[in-house]
Symmetry: C2
Subunit: 124 residues, 2 copies
DNA sequence: CCTCTAAGATTACAAGTGTAGTATTAAAAT
DNA sequence: ATTTTAATACTACACTTGTAATCTTAGAGG
């Protein structure tokens, strides 16, 4: 189990496209990101650079261009973020968190049924 | 519906004691916090000052001492934080988030049953 | 009244973040 | 071979955050 770097909110958006579509060149990442944000290309490059420095991603050279890929696993990062959030907001109380989300959010019948299926599986 | 200030991780700890026990003097907050962290008293005072500046809390004077109380509601803040987290990590996909938490975390049978009860209520 | 204490106010300071712009340089085009 | 392009590298810059220390001042104690 490795040390996970701290990944900021904007960096998460970059990681998410890399987790789904890596390997990607900087320009491909920029194209993907432009669908979702209003960031300038240079901003995305900065984020890629910072993620490299943090060792969250790495690249291979293809001529003058870099082709990026993740070094950290998505589920590890998701787990770490989730833990932080749960601690920060709910002091670790998972059931309180669930109850809260279920209160606030509207779920379709299908989603509710899916969650109940998951719970049933856990129960056995 | 008011604008919620940005509340940092450390500031959340202070807010949590105020939400539970306000009104509290700075020293009372410090005492509460000392049970949970290793922060120096001055650190807590800084956080109280920042929260006042952000208008997350306010105070009344009692002689030379300030007595603090929250200006923002806990459930509003919880909701906002939860939304940010859900967006950042799960791109807003609530069911994915649930499934993930249920995968990772261990829940007692009682907790699972409680969640199912909540789900049943939502379903009707 | 004067002194000391302790409360709040101000200052510190490096690292991280959001959001790019400018500089350098290698490769593509002509 | 020289010019142009465009990719990466460096620089910017204000704000937030974590983590306090020092300064100022109003009461508490004598």
């Amino acid at each position: 189990m490795k040390e996970l770097p701290q990944i900021s909110t904007t960096e998460w958006q970059v990681m998410k496209v890399l987790w789904i579509k890596a390997p990607l060149t900087a320009n491909e990442v920029i194209t993907e990101i432009e669908g979702v944000t209003t960031w300038k290309p240079k901003t995305v490059k900065t984020l890629l650079g910072r993620l490299v420095k943090k060792r969250a991603i790495a690249f291979n050279k293809d001529g003058r261009a870099y082709v990026y890929y993740p070094l950290v696993a998505e589920d590890e990062c998701v787990k770490a973020e989730s833990h932080s959030f749960l601690e920060k907001v709910f002091s670790g109380a998972l059931n309180v968190m669930f109850a809260n989300f279920l209160e606030e959010q509207k779920l379709s019948k299908e989603e509710i049924d899916e969650l109940k299926r998951i719970l049933d599986q856990k129960n056995s």
